[in-house]
Subunit: 430 residues, 2 copies
Amino acid sequence: MPTPLMIGLAGLGTVGGGMLKLLDTNRALIERRAGRPIRVVAVSARDRHRARDVDLSPYQWTDDAAALAARDDLGAVVELIGGADGPALVIARETLGRGTPLITANKAMLAHHGMELAALAEARGAALKYEAAVAGGVPVIKALREGAAANRVARVQGILNGTCNYILSAMESEGVSFDRALAAAQGRGFAEADPSFDVDGTDAAHKLAILAALAFGTRLDFGAVRIEGIRRVTAADISEAAALGYRVRLVGQAEAGPVGLFQRVAPCLVPLGHPLAHATGATNAVAVEGSHLGRLLLQGAGAGEGPTASAVVADLIDVARGEAGPAFAMPSDQLAVLAAADAGARRGRAYLRFTVADRPGVLAEITAATRDAGVSIASLIQRGAGPDGAVTLVMVTHAGEERCVADALRRLAGSAGLLKEPMLMRILGE
Amino acid sequence: MPTPLMIGLAGLGTVGGGMLKLLDTNRALIERRAGRPIRVVAVSARDRHRARDVDLSPYQWTDDAAALAARDDLGAVVELIGGADGPALVIARETLGRGTPLITANKAMLAHHGMELAALAEARGAALKYEAAVAGGVPVIKALREGAAANRVARVQGILNGTCNYILSAMESEGVSFDRALAAAQGRGFAEADPSFDVDGTDAAHKLAILAALAFGTRLDFGAVRIEGIRRVTAADISEAAALGYRVRLVGQAEAGPVGLFQRVAPCLVPLGHPLAHATGATNAVAVEGSHLGRLLLQGAGAGEGPTASAVVADLIDVARGEAGPAFAMPSDQLAVLAAADAGARRGRAYLRFTVADRPGVLAEITAATRDAGVSIASLIQRGAGPDGAVTLVMVTHAGEERCVADALRRLAGSAGLLKEPMLMRILGE
């Protein structure tokens, strides 16, 4: 009988409970694939007495998660507490510092402290694994770290936040406002009571920074991610985009090249010929452009008890099988340091929506500003004034440098003709 | 300086040459990810003097591929000769028999001899890796073997042959016949001069049998795959399907359940809401339904020099990193033996196309046969007679057992009213 992998689990929320259930439900299969039993020895959570749909009696309870990590009978610690700092980080440092493998779903912690933790893991010869941190059940970390390992990756694009995708999909299919779609998402458990972390793009940005480091072999640089959320997307934006043959998606996009590392999370217009256009509802999807493999798409459930637990246990199986390579596919001191690339030099098409007063001269003012900024207009749609007297003007540009569009908007800032701040979304290529 | 992984390469066709070029182009990146240099020591191919776009002078030439496999200075042998038997199998047995890791792209050999080779690899403690054998650059083997390892998989569906998908996509976008689309595919290098292996479904069936074994933890059983090719799909089938909201795709589908193992490759109608509907051209795509991860889609380039070489080198990097688990994710003697499931009991909707004589009574004969067989008709379209006097009748059934449709077709066999053999395609659920 092979030696079991003894594990400690810190965090008994949805994913922690899901992991215990999954290990139980698929025990025989998991043991065959892991080559040995995986046994949860000890668990820890904030509140021992909270009602949970999983029986904790088989496990030793530890009130102090750090004490759990300090046990010397564990072959791995699973951290599912969450949060960039606080107890999660204490446990991660303690676990890896002792040379014990750490499995975590904590994208915030990795985005902020991933380089420190990876270096610590390497120094102590312990695995640091985090498949569940990005895109839930979709094995995108493994695909980038190992599947695409022979490739120089030029670009990663992803729908990385299920809440935002659910809201944008609902706005599209039901023609409702952001606020109504958000309320519906909250009602169905797809959005938190305070949705800021999701809808403002922070969560997607954490994940993008992780993917970029792995894909490009560069140091993780969360601080350099430009972030725009989806609160300003209107039902009208979505229907105008649809009429033009696009879907609006919150896309995390990262590119590495001679000008540096570009990372941005922002609502974008995705053409129907692009694989990300077909991820609807709470689905996540990641498209990777490799030097040799071409464009690879991975798509699936990005959150939820089952999918996330599936990813955590995949990592456990890898650890049980002795897989212990560097967290970011190469020793962290070999990761390249790239400067943040200037977005202004990027070329692409853009969607602009202006809400303007219904009076002469406003259109001339806008078109003069775009002309003077060197923006070339591909199409322009003006809708008749609504009941509030406001006129919507939707403009799609030809491909050009982003700095030109930014310049045009700067020229129009403060114009009395603009009733609202203009909305700018970039259009993805096919 | 870590010890290099010394490799021997048998087969210098497109993929073999591509592998040498990729190792050269991305050498620094690959070494960082592999943790050590990967050095090709010796190569072998049928014809030393064939013109190749890669310089072979750095490598020792061996005329006899089996002698290459018998070298004792190799850390891995890469077999890219192809063919289920013959030299490829000789090399595979020699390599694994000596305990040397084997990397192969040879789906035919794995489909026919995978269980023998996996057992040999385990007995000798050598890795047997074959990412390039299925879906080219798409890391579907790794996703099933490791990414989805915690899941009981219920179903795998895949577009596994790029040639067929290219032909069906061209028939759809250009409205041309199978023969014309095939000729165009041959002209553009997407189909072989003798296309039987692809268009008759054998190649997809090899890949499906491999995926099924890996996904379900069952013994590989290529002989039990039911195979229908795409030669009988007409431009009319594709336009009728499109009018009904479907795309015609050659789908490999495998299911494991209490009734056994079901494996079939056949042209199917795929609804636009199904992720496989959006794989066009030579793209491959695989959808996996796991007990916990839900539905996972992987999509990308299924063939070609770059993508296939990318998969071969990913395996080399795994071997260099010491990854050496069982070929089918668990010891081969633990793979379950499932009987072939009876297709007749499967439930689903079907598309039927009849080409009939334009005379009274034929429609009554067909509808009587379907009624007597217990087939419930959801829709029926009769197109006016063409210049040849033949009438096309397209029928879509409600969900029912496949045996009923088979029974209806049996009742109609030999009918003088039918001018051609009826066309039957199953309709995938969303």
